[in-house]
């Protein structure tokens, strides 16, 4: 498997920031829209680096960095219509950004004050899913629901290269194909599943998995926000038009550790990271914007200022996140009364109140 993605890689912006053309895919964006994407990328990266820092300071239990994958996430997220619905893994901070989920809501999960964090309906984005692959079936079911509602929206479903080995993901392919569900499978191939390289999951490029299930698969440069946008647009359009699923493999790289608990120096060489740094998704858009005169120094500076302000607010917000009330763990186990939970809750509260006046 070629390290550069091979000839099948769809690209509209080279790592050097040169705008290139592709026979099948294109986007036509206004300078405003292009600057908007740049701003997205920068702010998402800032959320990510800020959260990483907060974890180091003990404010978060864990953080799963998305550095390097911003273009894949922002490009696909920005392709969505408001009525579309996104199913993320635990790393789609850039997608969450495009769905209007406040960064602080993401942090609340990694801080350990909630196992959720936002209202899925309010953002048309499901909660983060930690058990690898589970969400792919939810995505297909949701898309089947859209079919039944005669809603011509579509679903986008995120997962990683490692996830493609899970049975559930392949069952999702089966169901989506059989029911012709309006779902776009968006696989961010960041080359690693924790310490395991792609070769532990497949011997052919991942986009070709779709061949086995009878729907189209494409490989896009995941560090090229324009190409990702174009390819996702096309796949969503196909889904809306009743052509069923598409698998998009966004060829990218996990520039950070798997999570803040991980130490990638144990299993990968520094040279790889250096090579991928040259393909950075933000840098190439910046060069393109600057060279083409679509953005100037003032714009870039303003985005920096905005990022800085957001970071400060995020830090303060995070430190101020209150711990949930202890008894809240009993709150939503069921949505209707359940005798055992009621009994245990009462005992819990009695026991706790015994400490108020002194206790043991």
């Amino acid at each position: 498997m070629t390290a550069d993605g091979g000839p099948e890689l769809i690209q509209l912006l080279t790592p050097e920031g040169e705008r290139v053309h592709h026979p099948d895919y294109d986007v036509d964006l206004t300078p405003d829209q292009l600057r908007g994407l740049y701003r997205d990328l920068v702010l998402v990266r800032r959320v990510d680096s800020e959260a990483t820092a907060l974890q180091r300071q003990g404010e978060l239990g864990l953080w799963a960095q998305c550095i390097g994958q911003e273009a894949a996430q922002v490009g696909s997220g920005r392709a969505l219509a408001p009525g579309d619905f996104a199913f993320p893994t635990y790393r789609e901070h850039g997608v969450a950004w495009t769905r209007g989920v406040a960064p602080l809501q993401l942090l609340s999960l990694f801080r350990g004050v909630t196992n959720g964090g936002w209202d899925p309906q309010a953002h048309n984005m499901a909660l983060y899913t930690i058990v690898i692959g589970d969400q792919t079936l939810h995505a297909v079911g949701y898309a089947m629901g859209m079919q039944r509602d005669d809603d011509d929206s579509a679903v986008i479903c995120y997962f990683g290269d490692g996830a493609t080995s899970q049975g559930d993901v392949n069952e999702a392919f089966v169901f989506a194909a059989v029911y012709n569900a309006p779902v776009v499978f968006f696989c961010q191939n960041n080359q690693w599943a924790i310490s395991e390289p792609l070769e532990r999951q497949t011997r052919i490029p991942l986009y070709r998995r779709a061949d086995g299930f009878g729907f189209p698969g494409v490989r896009v440069d995941g560090n090229d926000v324009l190409a990702v946008l174009a390819v996702t647009n096309a796949a969503l359009a196909a889904a809306r038009e009743g052509q069923g699923p598409t698998l998009i493999e966004a060829f990218t790289y996990r520039m950070g550790a798997h999570t803040t608990s991980d130490d990638p120096t144990r299993y990968r060489v520094a040279a790889d990271l250096e090579a991928w740094k040259l393909k950075d998704p933000i840098e190439r858009l910046k060069v393109y914007l600057a060279r083409s005169g679509k953005a100037d120094h003032d714009f870039f500076a303003a985005v920096e200022v905005e990022a800085q302000e957001m970071a400060v607010a995020l830090r303060d917000g995070c430190r101020g996140l209150p711990d949930p009330a202890p008894a809240s763990m009993f709150d939503h186990v069921y949505s209707e009364p359940h005798l055992l939970v009621q009994t245990e809750r009462a005992a819990f509260e009695t026991y706790h109140s015994s400490f108020v006046g002194g206790g043991h």
């Binding site: 959720g116 899925p120 909660l127 079936l137 629901g145 049975g167 169901f175 709150d331 939503h332 209707e336």
Partner: protein, 327 residues
Amino acid sequence: MAVTTMAKAINAGLRKALEDDPKVLLMGEDIGKLGGVFRVTDGLQKDFGEARVIDSPLAESGIVGTAVGLAMRGFRPVVEIQFDGFVFPAFDQIVTQVAKHNARSSGRTPMPITIRIPYGGGIGAVEHHSESPEAYFAHTAGLRVISPSNPVDAFAMVRQAIACNDPVVFFEPKRRYWDKADVDLTADITSATSPFEARIVRPGGSVTVACYGPMVRTCLEAATVAAADGTELEVIDLRSLSPLDVPTVAASVRRTGRLVVVHEAPVFLGMGAELAARITEECFYSLEAPVLRVGGYHTPYPPSRLEEDYLPDLDRVLDAVDRALAF
């Protein structure tokens, strides 16, 4: 009133649910044209169409996982697992997603999913077609687990399960599918007993016998025999395993002083263990004997030629009753 088998009563219940709420969907293997291997969904696809009564690919995790997505979209999926032994490929989706999603989303995305599972033995089937896996589900917070023992309850309880906003694992005692009773197929569920409450199906003062699903008939038969010997069994049909209606059982035990729990599932960490622990704690000073348990052994379900030796029967229930009385 119509004399109806349990299978037909569930069919009628599903039909009513489909009629009453356009968001109700059925999904499973062979539930459409075939009407299910036990014909429980017979005729429903014909009447409600393929979009609402869905023959699925052969993949249980897929069935339950897509049901989760459908529930997120506002549907009320009722999925069928063809036999007890085939629920395990879906176990991750059930335990990790179905059970936990309401809590994870702080109640914003409830999971009104009904998982129908024909369970238990006694039909001479090959391996994996006779198991009683209910304890796995009852141990799992976020799930409700119920099981009807007769056609009347089956008709009401399946609709109540579907109407419930929480996920319900609905265990159907397959060897009682052909049991018949008078069922009022016009009854509405608002007047029915809560499916999460136990019911005393035969009052008696000597020994309390708690059971559910297929064992209720067995225990009622045992009670008839015991009565001839002058022993009055109070038979409680638990109906719900999560929540477990401990107060009803405890009140009975306070009267009788003795409890025998009967189920087909293996005794070790079966429902009887929980009931024994809880009743002993609640009724410590009323108990004249330890809670005794009658159930399956700690073995895989045996080949069918041995199932009569494996399954609790009238004699084993009476033996436990005798032992309880002898304490």
